[in-house]
Amino acid sequence: METTKLPPSSPSSPTTSFSVPSAEKVDGFPRRSMRRARQRRSHSSSQFRYQSSQVELTPLPLLKDAPVAELHDLFCKKLQQCCVLFDFLDCVADLKGKEIKRAALNELVESVATSRGVLIEPLYPEAIKMISVNIFRTLPPSENPEFDPEEDEPTLEASWPHLQLVYEFFLRFLESPDFQPSMAKRYIDQKFVLQLLELFDSEDPREREYLKTILHRVYGKLLGLRAYIRKQINNIFLRFIYETEHFNGVAELLEILGSIINGFALPLKAEHKQFLVRVLIPLHTAKSLSIFHAQLAYCVVQFMEKDATVTEYIIRGLLKYWPKTCTQKEVMFLGEIEEILDVIEPSQFIRIQEPLFKQIAACISSPHFQVAERALYFWNNEYILSLIEENCQVILPLVFATLYRVSKEHWNQTIVSLIYNVLKTFMEMNSKLFDDLTASYKVEKQKEMKRERERADLWRGLEEYQERRMQMLTEAARNQRNLQERGERGDPLSPSSTQMAQSDQPEPKPSGASTGAGESAT
């Protein structure tokens, strides 16, 4: 097999497919190392739009030097200056302008963070406008079309030097003691929030971090937007689960939701319960679960702590979506189950113990050692142990046969040790139950072995019968040939040859010569 030379990556044609020579493939898939970082293409960067008249920025006097009467006016002018966008993909373009804007942004941040009385009503629309202009953009498609959030390095935002300051400004603006939600809500409206949420798909984790905190503050302060925000987050998640399976900001949104769930009033509204069942639980089916599993599990557990009656929905939901082929996910699910069991109420535990421990038994018998280990480790948890002990009569029969069988069959020595620990724990909980189960297990085993033996005997009998029949047939055929030959030779002792020629099968005729086999044919 000859290796073909790799074509150079061409920055001009974004649609050229990167052909990978077969030698570089493992199991038919190109190895990750082959995905080279491509040269940054300056395709129409969504961040930088050529403005019709490129404005020259002139440095303005410093805010701290401005007399009080002119402060707000200067503030406004600086905000307007910051509405000018710069191209960061070109490192050397317009350095002077970039620096002016950066300095201005810095000042604005300082001012909002430290001074009082800066935020007056007229500034609100200007501030929001500046923020909108800077941050709202269509996110460029990923540089790496096969971006795997778990493995690959994310593409960072080029204009971060300015963008970071804009976000910082926004955050300080929201957190300022002078901030008036009633004024802000005219400008931070549903359209604004929707665009904000779309930015969560950014590949740059720093941007998402800011967005997370900002949205958290917005949700906290602008009560009128809360229902809308929740609804839009639901839409994002549902689209993620059922349509695209791509969204970079799931973990951040879940973190925000965690703090919201934590604050739910009791009794829990139906809307929230439905969110749990229709969004949070199906979220577990995502392929990239490992990225946001910690946050997701936290949300789930918070729900349980708020209202114990949702426990059954959670557990049954998880069992329904239990991973069948991905063992990495299975280990995550088991971790989540342990966290859930840590806070479960005994009355709820009883409702789900049967299906749950059936699944746990299945995990124990998994050939993947990490899955089996994780499942067995539940017995090291004091609280879970106390739950098991209270319901020993139900649980032990469910796992007993699996434990015994796996202890004899499993390849991994650590697993065998853990199983011993579990069996010993059960033995000490209730000896009699354990002995009874051992006895019935042995009886079952004997029955099974007996059935196997009978089956083997049956087949052996059939094979022997087959052999005997073959023997008979060959003998009969031989005898027939002999008689034929004798008949042709004119042997006086043989019966007529025509009679013999007709019968192909040896029939048990009363005439002694024709039947070859001495014993009965059947």
Partner: protein, 330 residues
């Protein structure tokens, strides 16, 4: 004819059983020992025997191996002053010895595995040396006469006299009960023939079979077992068995087992316990009235829809129409 042979065998064993009784003085010493005294106590002996049972059960050894091991252990402990730290080594070597004379070669677990599963700290060569010591001191050659010997004989005798009751008098059940008794040092003082008979009678009483009890009287008379002795042990047995059979599950309270997991699993074990950074946002009851769009967006359906939601996820105004269709199609 069979019955006669069995009775003869019974006699023979009865005469031999004295040789296999642990020294009473030695047993008393153990029973009276204090926890803090640095000696083997009744509790530690009982815990060790329970460990032996766990191992027997786990490796699929027969009850005979277990009973032989306990016999060796009790005799050794009654004869020698053993330090508590050597107790597990002694007990495991007894089990290994017993298994070697009882089990098939292919079913024998190697010493290394025995030590590993038993979570002991000594080596296989330590075990070997201890086995030699035990063999020497007890002049161990072959199987001892134990309560199990008698149980099996009694069982056979009962069956020859009352064949129609074959299924009800279960030898397995009797063996399990014997095991429960042997886990308490108090029963080590009993003569095996008496202990076995007490167990037998207990089971027969629970089956409420007068015929079988007749047979047990017959055995008692044959062996000339005094009434008082049998009565005493019957009481002990009854008490022990009622403890054993209680449906109450007890909290496992022995020394901590070692839970060793692989490195990868250990790394993942507590990675989720992260303190959330964002402060809680309390939900106000005035949220809905303040909301500009309280009408359409908020779910109004009550708990009924929640019950069916796991089966039919695509109902209700909450679920967007285009996704609902796709989900149903998927």
């Amino acid at each position: 004819m069979d019955a006669v042979r069995l009775m003869k065998e019974l006699r023979v064993n009865y005469e031999q059983e004295v040789d296999f009784l642990p020294r009473e003085a030695g047993l008393d010493l153990i029973v009276s020992a204090q926890q803090s005294g640095g000696q083997i106590t009744a509790r530690s002996r009982d815990v060790t025997v329970e460990d032996l049972w766990s191992l027997t059960s786990f490796f699929g050894y027969s009850t005979q191996s277990f009973v032989q091991a306990v016999s060796l252990l009790d005799r050794f402990l009654a004869m020698m002053r053993v330090q508590p730290k050597h107790l597990s080594c002694v007990s495991l070597s007894c089990l290994h010895l017993a298994a070697r004379v009882t089990e098939e070669e292919c079913d024998l677990t190697p010493a290394d595995e025995l030590i590993r599963i038993g979570q002991c700290r000594f080596t296989a060569s330590d075990l070997g040396r201890m086995e030699k010591i035990v063999t020497e001191k007890l002049r161990f050659k072959s199987k001892a006469v134990t309560a199990l010997t008698f149980l099996q004989l009694y069982h056979q005798i009962t069956l020859t006299h009352a064949t129609y009751r074959k299924e009800t008098l279960s030898l397995e059940k009797l063996e399990a009960q014997l095991k429960a008794c042997l886990c308490r040092i108090a029963f080590s003082k009993a003569k095996p023939s008496v202990l076995a008979l007490a167990l037998l009678r207990q089971e027969m009483k629970s089956l409420q079979s007068e015929d079988m009890l007749e047979i047990s009287f017959h055995i008692q008379r044959h062996l000339k077992i005094p009434d008082a002795e049998l009565q005493l042990w019957s009481e002990w047995v009854a008490r022990r068995l009622s403890d054993y059979a209680s449906p109450k599950c007890s909290k496992p309270n022995h020394r901590k087992l070692q839970w060793i997991v692989s490195r990868r699993t250990a790394q993942n074990l507590h990675s989720h316990r992260s303190v959330p950074e964002l402060p809680t946002i309390p939900e106000g009851c005035w949220d809905e009235s303040e909301s500009e769009d309280s009408g359409e967006d908020v779910m109004s359906s009550g708990d009924e829809s929640l019950c069916s939601s796991l089966g039919s996820d695509a109902e209700g105004p909450f679920f967007p129409l285009h996704l609902r269709r796709q989900y149903l199609a998927a």
